[in-house]
Assembly symmetry: D2
């Protein structure tokens, strides 16, 4: 009876999260091979023969299919996966967007969907005076968190590599002086405990986004993490990197779009602002934008920061320096006082248009 069949087919579970496309010349034996392999791990395989080729839909525990190496089986042309590979950071199971709180007890700054968080500071900590002056500039412009690098990964072994522990100590002094919680990068899993003792938020830089040992180490460090996008990572790979951290028990992860590598030589990297609404649609984690490292040119930083605010990011992070000409790292992209004042005006005016309040107005004690 057609009706019944139709009804039953409608409930047919074969619209599958994994679909195997067989090659045009695949034999019945090839097809049977796939089916038997899938059934061997408790899955179900639904075969649909078309005029020119056959498609097999798999139903069951997707994770169990990963180990089947379906692509290697005779006659298999392609395997399509129709589901997100990440879990803990996905909105599928956690529909509400998260807020991450950064700072010592008594002064926790939010990064999340209701606020706008402005983070600023020097690319590299060079001296106590330069760091303190940068922090004062940042605070005067409305920043509520201080960025500053003590450990610097550099493309050239001949470039300044950061002050290390001394840099961390300068940051701690600066926090005491200004009240701004500290975001600083960690580049080696061996340094994670040391950095976590000093900093309020651990930054994973673009070159380390796929340094899985480091991701696991910060996942266990008990501090929020700022995870920059790999300059060549897809959004999906980036969320998988966040999953590495989350899997170790740390869900306090903030993503940071900082530009991807493209063919365009006019900028160091191409800031991918589309990533902001895409991440917000698929993951519950907050996301901020770093226009300084994407552009590599000061004249682009303020326009791109404004664009980041307007696209709906939960915050921006920029480089500032009291004297960019003497900076040991990335001077060309550091904002000075006049730029900062221009940016500060946008930070005040645009987020309210999008229903956000300044993060500084929502600081809380616990």
């Amino acid at each position: 009876m057609a009706e019944t069949v139709t009804a039953s087919t409608r409930r047919c579970p074969s619209v599958a999260p994994v679909v195997i496309v067989m090659a045009p010349g695949a034999t019945d034996e090839d097809i049977a091979g796939v089916v038997s392999r899938v059934e061997g791990v408790g899955g179900e395989a639904f075969v649909s023969k078309g005029v020119t080729r056959t498609i097999i839909g798999l139903v069951g525990d997707i994770d169990s299919f990963h180990h089947l190496n379906l692509r290697t089986l005779p006659g298999v042309a392609d395997v399509h996966r129709i589901s997100d590979p990440y879990k803990l950071v996905s909105r599928q199971h956690h529909p509400e967007r998260s807020t991450v709180w950064v700072g010592p007890p008594g002064h926790r700054v939010p990064i999340g969907p209701e606020t706008f968080t402005f983070i600023a500071g020097p690319c590299a900590v060079e001296t106590a005076a330069q760091t303190l002056e940068s922090a004062h500039m940042a605070r005067a412009a409305g920043a509520t968190l201080l960025r500053g690098g003590a450990f610097k990964p550099r493309t050239s072994p001949y470039a300044f590599q950061g002050l290390g522990l001394q840099g961390l100590e300068i940051l701690v002094e600066t926090r005491e002086e200004t009240g701004l919680p500290i975001v600083t990068e960690v580049v080696d899993a061996r340094d994670v405990p040391l950095v976590a003792r000093h900093a309020d938020m651990l930054q994973i830089g673009t070159r380390n986004m796929a340094n899985f040992g480091l991701l696991q180490a910060v996942g266990e460090a008990g501090k929020p993490v700022l995870l920059k996008r790999g300059m060549t990572a897809t959004v999906e790979e980036w969320l998988m990197a966040a999953e590495y951290i989350a899997q170790r028990g740390n869900l306090d992860v903030v993503l940071c779009e900082r530009g991807i590598r493209t063919f365009e030589p006019a900028t160091r990297n191409t800031l991918d602002l589309s990533a902001v609404p895409i991440v917000q649609a698929t993951s519950h984690l907050p996301i901020i934008v770093d226009p300084s490292h994407a552009a590599g040119r000061k004249d682009l930083v303020v326009p791109l920061a404004r664009a980041g605010i307007a696209v709906g990011a939960d915050g921006v992070i920029v480089d500032v320096h009291p004297d960019p000409e003497s900076a040991l790292c990335d001077g060309p992209q550091a904002l000075v006082g006049s730029d900062l004042r221009e940016l500060a005006a946008s930070v005040r005016k645009i987020p309210p248009l999008l229903g956000r309040v300044d993060a500084g107005d929502r600081v809380r004690a616990t």
Copy 2:
């Protein structure tokens, strides 16, 4: 006498717009070969021998060097050019940013540095009713120019290719009805006179940015041109394409950033908003942003349009459709009424923060 030498050297004209780097093993004969070739076209060559290699700076008419094929000479490792290859569209000789006026005498709409121009309309003209309804939606949201495609370049030969002349006639009727001047694409040099008779602004699409015959044809058509960036073109190549149009006597060119091809699969193309301040720094031509074609997904269009406004673009252009589900082209990215109202609010509020007025307030008769 060292002092004199130093002084004389300081005026030395050999800091050259073209620098040739010789290979490590280049011989004196190789060097002499380069020098003689350059001098043969009236240039001067200044040789500097370093410890491991020799560099030759060229001074003179750069254009004359193009034909020398310097890279082919024995011993030449590399040739560096230190100057912009475009002229008419560069700010070097035309420091003030231009305004392009679009529309029939009596109703000319500006696109330029003092205004913000909102352009909207259907991706493809399908019927008179759909076009008119789209135009009403556009106008209600504050648009001052109407976009709409009569000739459509499509990746698949099996897809809808546009209504052609009939589409142009529908656009003309719609203009009469609504008063909105028309922007429409031309895809073939043979169609330029026909399209120019009907439209107020001729659009060159991304796939035709390097169709040099077409660029020359619109350069002679007597109507302003909207030149979309090739999805794989550098900013420099894009400005060279504008130079093709300018060279035929038409300087009324507006550039349109619409996304570039990258490795990221989550969007159709990656909207490169950095291109806006870069173009504004190097060319006097206006530049607008098309978030619809970059994203290919409706949910990204409003955030990206806001980002385009905030980055400082001279306008935005978006797809609208009264019934996207029935659209024959790019339905997934078309805005509907509620989206448009959200975008309209941003168009009203953000440009004034950047010192711009609505283009509709500056319409003029001539």
Copy 3:
């Protein structure tokens, strides 16, 4: 009865060529909307509700689904298509690889799976003498077809644009002199009849791969076509461009890999040799490799040509010039006599290792 259900499900046609993934919050009404839309064009929709989201598989005429704008429907998160969008050029319906014959009656040179075809000549036709000398160089090195440009698309409007008709006449004279059939580029649909009267094979350059009017024009010109890959086109888009030509009745299309745009600045483009076995697996059309334009540097051309032979291409095409230093176009990449002799040795020795004979040994009269 589970057994029956299983059996019936196994035959369930819902392993579908199109799969719709609903958003996490999609309602029953959203789902019903998709189903009704699909059924409205005669398709079948099979709904599978998972724990966190619903997937709908579509069965029926895929082409009819294209117009449904499924992505625009409420609740739809994504649409996966599991099938090739091209037909005439696919191996699905034409499993044997094709041979294209190029040349006037009486002297037809094959390009196909059993032979190796060496094509050489000047990038641009400059003078009769230069063209003839280039042709002699090419023939001496074993080439069986002559390339040479009479119409040149150039990035800069200030660069040499080709001799046009005069260039075609020089090519014809050269063919008479040397017996080598001619491959030459056509850049404008208006020129197709003229070029087709003179040339033996019409080349579509990389910048015109998506110039659909031009593709249709050469599809009707009655001559074989050499279709270069767009420097930014995926293999699928390239095969769609070939489909445009095939759809107008011309299946004599040879594809030419010539490098794609990437982030690497050391070469003009990155030669994508993986495209050769990929195209050969999915399309029946022959495919050759152009190492000259990919590299843009003479020292890379011979190694990359050898790599192209070894990867299994059906031929290679290279630039030669008797005097590259005076070339009006792409001199830096033109091979001279010594390079050509080195390449000629590889052309003789490597194809036989792969079971191919020289195309010159298979020339036929009809």
Copy 4:
């Protein structure tokens, strides 16, 4: 006297390795600021005023200019560097190409310009039996080095991460059994001493190419290093990563091209074979090709390996597995017996055409 001036100008040292381009509106004060800053570190600055802008050439110790932050100075539009940033790995100071010897005393296998080295083995060490069987397959096909992963960096935290120490022990046993020296990856600086005690060559994977702490650690480990190209690294950045290793005293570095990230979805990565002759022209380090990881598809591995041989690589490295269907990692790209035999034939036949002998014929005791 023009003659004298010309002669003196010809020796003018101002054809500089660093050229600063001033912005169109730069003032005399801006220019004086640049000159004074350069002179402050002992450099010389040569000013050349053109019609529309001024160029300043710098002569002196380039490294001292790095800290000047020239781009940040008022009026500076751009800074061009005309020299290689790497030193120890460059051919400029070390014109002869190097050979790296891999293996225990008594059995050292060369990788260098006179030989061709075939490396094969399983992507991941899973069991002693699987590793031994893979090694026998590799040796039977002519491989002289065994690859095998004990520590695996994986994109998903849910994927198999390798056997660790147990894997290293299996590799050592396999070396004892087969005589093949071992190449294995190290992913964490903390593991370097352990891995160096077991392996004959330490591999740095693509995701760790810019993990500078790890590069420095292997630079001190006393074993040769196989440095894979970052999937998104330019050739220059890759050579800078090699410089990090060399700077710690280890010049036994072999580079490995394994594909770069591009827009093409048909392959996992695009194998960039142009990198082989480019690296060989600029660095003295050997370079091999990994077609397995670039393609990610078995059917492309043999053609791409052949192309790698023909382009002139010093070796190839491929994945093999006795039973790819059960492989825990990258099964789809592993070669089986029949593929290996096909590849072995190319390894025997093509290198001699390029003047290379099999590395196995040049094994030496010290």
